[in-house]
Homo-oligomer: 148 residues x 2
DNA sequence: CAGGACTTGCAACTGAGTTGCAAGTGGAAA
DNA sequence: TTTCCACTTGCAACTCAGTTGCAAGTCCTG
């Protein structure tokens, strides 16, 4: 049993949609694919430049915008605990919420079925067709909660 | 039975905390108190200037920041459907989620107990002390969902 | 392998939000 | 009521993430 494999990589998904696959895009897609944490645009640029130092800020922004428009990545605000920009992550099937510690800034993820329930409620009661849901919680991690 | 009255106005809450009450602050607090929709900083400034045309952008930003630090207002991202700024609203007791239509940009509120449940789950399972939760849903209103 | 539509890098621009500072003021204390 | 000063304001300059127009470069279909 090898490592869990996604049905389709980001590159594959984009090519399927008839999007031209350039060297620069491949770099950004691959790094988002394998990213561990949550990256903001500056972090994506920095990572991308390790592979291609010539890649430009504008290209990164344009690629992130393309991915978001295509519904392949999620844009997070994460309560701006670590700066003024937004963060990006591969869009997953099972939803999770993000919890940010206002003390140390650490972000943890918390999977839950309550979001799916909420979305069902919304659809049923309001008639809205839900496309995505973002849940961001501010709190204090056990360590930072010590002594208030 | 007169109109439902809040226990404490924003001004009262701030004065209680020993904050100096200036003419400019009073204007901003009162306007947030009575605001119907969701206002961004520019809208707050514009509203405030109807009362005092001399009030400065910096004062508005500083006041919003003060209110946020004091936990009296909530800062919302609302998926940036209407610009690049954030939105502000009086912090309420009963939580509600915000649903933004990606078609027409309209924002509606949806009260639910699921958020309280989620917060309880988080506290119990992760040990985090939850301070606030923001739920922002992107979707299509019935009108905009017609014909996809 | 050639052609053309699409993409990139660059550099200039945008605009929301921030900051240092001198002048003004709220409100406690006398 | 008047005094006084720490705190607040308006202003103007600044910051900096993100955007945009354009000429040069590249993907990819035929
Ligand atoms: Mn935001
Ligand atoms: Mn609201
Ligand atoms: Zn912490
Ligand atoms: Zn709509």
């Amino acid at each position: 049993m090898d490592k869990k494999r996604k049905t389709q990589t980001l590159s594959e998904a984009l090519v399927t949609r008839g999007v031209r696959m350039t060297r620069q895009r491949k770099i950004v897609l691959d790094l988002l694919e394998n990213a561990s944490g949550h990256l903001d645009a500056a972090a994506v640029l920095e990572q991308a430049r390790r592979t291609d130092p010539g890649i430009d800020r504008a290209t990164v922004y344009r690629t992130l915008s393309l991915l978001k428009r295509s519904g392949l990545i999620e844009e997070l605000d994460l309560l701006h605990l670590g700066g003024k920009g937004h963060y990006y992550e591969r869009r997953e099937t099972g939803t999770h919420v993000h919890i940010g510690c206002v003390g140390c800034g650490q972000i943890v993820e918390f999977p839950t079925r309550l979001i799916a329930r909420l979305e069902a409620d919304i659809q049923e009661i309001t008639g809205y067709k839900v496309e995505s849901t973002r849940v961001e919680v501010a709190g204090r991690c056990p360590r930072c909660a010590q002594g208030q």
